[in-house]
């Protein structure tokens, strides 16, 4: 009993110190993110930041289902594409505000998620992965031939000359795009944070380990998977809507492909799966590195940049397979404060066990 009390006290002290770090760390990050476009006035960097945030949202979307949850999606491009198309088509055809398009995109994505999930959630994760991958190509084939959504030509959105929040367009001003994507990012991360701490969050992590055992403890596996699937699809769809409105152009070949999905996966895995900050950190490293490598030595037509990029990915895989956050966790002593903040508060184990 005595022992216990001491431990509890110890715990509270640790937590409160962790809290301090968390607050400080959080504040620093917040200030940095908020002031980014003012520190870096180069529009190219802002553009990179915007794309990074966009992929980070997608990475988080993937992370909910495939990092925390147990269904390894290889085709989140499906939802990304549906989000992009929903807003683009509604906006160009009916002048409906992309914000509404975003919501409709989320609805469409969610329904597709439910439909795809219905048969495949029952099976092992690999099946879901393969199914979503196959579905990506299916959608690609369908959209390539579907006249109403612009078939292979894609959807061109008009370039409006004046900024308007309602129309999701900002003439020549990256800052506003940045804040919007940041807002969406924060929103999605808050959502996932909430989820990870909720009953649902616990359940999906348990289901990831052992579905039968979870079921025997009263967890409705299908229902929970579907809910997570919906959340995940919606988030990916939001990233897609942003993509469409930012590029002002969508076409089937470039949204419904495995590169899109892989960007999500790689962001999340590089940062550290099943962590809140992971996808963002992964995207911050992954997306700009890819762009910078291409910017520096690309363009020769000799594919040096791609060779280097492939090489970098392999090195990361070999030396940091558990993700950046995993590395932090391994060196927890030095980073105890930081890692406290990164881990969920309830997990106090130092054992990283991120097997899927």
């Amino acid at each position: 009993m005595k022992d216990n009390g001491k431990q509890l006290m110890n715990d509270t002290r640790k937590i409160s110190r962790g809290m301090v770090f968390r607050v400080i760390g959080g504040l620093c990050l917040a200030i940095f993110l908020l002031s980014f476009p003012h520190i870096f006035t180069s529009n190219y960097l802002r553009n990179l930041a915007i794309l990074t945030c966009m992929w980070a949202i997608g990475g988080q979307a993937w992370n909910v289902l495939s990092g925390y949850g147990s269904r390894y999606s290889m085709g989140h491009a499906i939802f990304f594409g549906l989000g992009a198309y929903s807003s683009a088509v509604l906006f160009t055809k009916y002048g409906i505000s992309p914000w509404i398009g975003m919501i409709i995109g989320m609805l469409v994505s969610s329904s597709i998620s439910v439909i795809v999930g219905f048969p495949t959630f029952k099976l092992t994760p690999a099946y879901y992965g393969m199914a979503t991958l196959g579905f990506t190509f299916t959608l690609q084939a369908v959209f390539l031939n579907w006249r109403w959504v612009g078939d292979s030509r894609g959807v061109f959105m008009p370039l409006l000359r004046k900024s308007s929040i309602l129309d999701f367009q900002f003439a020549n001003n990256k800052t506003q795009y940045y804040y919007i994507v940041l807002f969406l990012l924060v929103l999605s991360y808050l959502l996932v944070y909430k989820v990870s701490k909720s009953k649902l969050g616990f359940y999906i992590r348990a289901m990831k380990e052992d579905e039968l055992a979870a079921q025997s403890l009263g967890v409705d596996v299908m229902k929970n998977l579907q809910i997570v699937g919906i959340i995940s699809a919606s988030l990916a769809s939001v990233a897609g809507t942003f993509y469409a409105q930012y590029m002002l152009y969508v076409d089937p070949m470039s949204v419904y492909n495995s590169i899109t999905s892989n960007n999500f996966i790689l962001s999340a895995t590089l940062g550290g799966i099943a962590t809140i900050a992971g996808p963002l950190i992964g995207a911050i490293i992954f997306i700009p590195t890819g762009e910078l490598i291409r910017g520096w030595i690309g363009g020769s037509g000799k594919a040096f940049d791609q060779m280097l990029w492939g090489f970098v990915i392999i090195l990361i895989a070999i030396y940091r397979p558990s993700g950046i956050l995993g590395w932090f966790k391994e060196h927890a002593k030095f980073f105890s404060g930081i890692s406290k903040w990164m881990k969920e508060p309830i997990v106090r184990s130092n054992h990283d066990n991120s097997r899927m």
């Binding site: 190219y44 078939d151 370039l159 152009y249 076409d251 070949m253 690309g298």
Partner: protein, 397 residues
């Protein structure tokens, strides 16, 4: 401060269209050579005799490359980088119409001229952009040119009857546009489009497409394909021993090095359009055969180099007239572009932009690849240098 004028280009330099990007890159290097160094032997090619940009005291140009990997997102990103990081005065590119869409939109936002040297989708000039100039023709123009030529040849060839057309197109933006326009204009030239097949260019087998063509047996096969799939089709046609009465490509397939190497005689006798053909201009042979062959043994000079060189010339000409690289003045100067046909390597009547930014003097040359890939111009009449040979069946070869 800078001692060069930077020009940004965006091409698919890696990824599965890297080959094309490669060809454009060669064109860019050639363009730099033409502008920056004195090549009196290449006169009257514009800016060949002078070194650098005359109005800027011989300031040299420098081309900065961006790799789109043929994806719109990368294209957008590269445009952004070239403009804000590299400080280019204008962009040229971007081969794929989809990439051109997003890249030109970035340029438009920044008020930087975008010179389109290669993407041919008509949609691009219908967006009301002010900084978008297409030196290249668009598919509407090209398809009309092709059909005009087809009509003429069909009328001349009394041995056969040419009535029906079948359109075979890859299903990305370019192929679909071409197909739509073809269906639209065919009746005007007295042809009937009996069927259209579109297919994904990454397809691994085209047997069913070919079977369908055989079933419909059109007089004229009108095909818009990328290189790999075009080769696949030709091989499959050969296997199935099928020939139409006339085989037309909507672009310059037989000019492609791989195409010629791979298909050899099987690729002869096809009709295609190009915007490059050996003109009688004095500089053509020295550049395309002597200089180019020496520096790029792997490649053959074709319309891709031609159009990028011309685009660079157009841009430099505008800078030269404006006397500055200020984007607004540059735009102004570009709208007033008036370059004569003999000053450029492309066989256009010249370069003049209409209010949408389309070069109204762009046109195609319709060519037939004859024996040993001897290219015989069929149209326009002032360039005609040979007669059309009806497409022979496989047994006749």
């Amino acid at each position: 401060a800078d001692d060069t004028v930077k020009i940004g280009v965006v091409y698919p330099l890696s990824g599965n269209q890297a080959l094309t990007g490669f060809e454009y890159r060669a064109g860019c290097e050639l363009a730099e050579e033409i502008i920056n160094n004195e090549h009196p032997e290449w006169a009257p090619l514009k800016f060949a005799e002078t070194a650098g940009i005359p109005a800027l005291n011989g300031k040299k140009i420098e081309i900065v490359y961006g790799d789109s990997q043929a994806t719109p997102e990368r294209g957008q990103n590269e445009a952004e980088r070239l403009i804000t990081q590299e400080g280019v005065v204008a962009l040229i590119g971007a081969f794929n119409s989809s990439v051109s869409t997003t890249a030109s939109q970035v340029a438009e936002r920044y008020g930087i001229p975008f010179i389109c040297d290669s993407a041919s989708s008509p949609t691009l000039t219908s967006r009301g952009f002010q900084y978008f100039f297409r030196v290249f023709g668009n598919d509407a123009i090209f398809v009309e040119n092709l059909f005009t030529a087809m009509r003429e040849e069909a009328d001349k060839d009394t041995s056969r009857e040419y009535k029906t057309v079948m359109v075979l197109n890859e299903n990305s933006l370019w192929g679909s546009d071409v197909a739509d326009i073809a269906k639209l204009v065919a009746p005007k030239y007295g042809f009937e489009v009996i069927d259209q097949i579109s297919y994904p260019s990454t397809t691994t087998q085209v047997n069913s497409e070919v079977q369908r063509v055989i079933a419909k047996d059109p007089d004229i096969l009108f095909q818009a394909s990328y290189v790999a799939d075009a080769m696949l089709f030709m091989r499959t046609f050969k296997e199935q021993k099928y020939t139409p009465k006339m085989y037309v490509y909507a672009d310059g397939k037989p000019l492609n090095f791989s195409y010629r190497e791979t298909l050899g005689p099987d690729g002869w006798w096809t009709v295609f359009r190009t915007v490059y053909s050996k003109k009688d201009a004095p500089f053509v042979k020295p550049i395309t055969e002597d200089y180019f062959a020496e520096h790029y043994p792997d490649l053959k000079f074709n319309e891709n180099q031609g159009s990028v060189i011309t685009s660079v010339q157009v841009l430099v000409d505008a800078i030269n007239r404006a006397g500055t690289t200020d984007p607004e003045k540059l735009r102004e100067a570009l709208t007033q572009t008036d370059i004569k046909g003999e000053e450029i390597i492309l066989p256009f009547a010249g370069v003049q932009f209409d209010e949408t930014g389309q070069n109204i003097l762009a046109r195609a040359i319709v060519v037939q690849a004859q024996e040993d890939f001897k290219f015989v111009n069929l149209w326009p009449s002032e360039m005609k240098n040979g007669d059309y040979v009806p497409y022979p069946s496989w047994e006749e070869r």
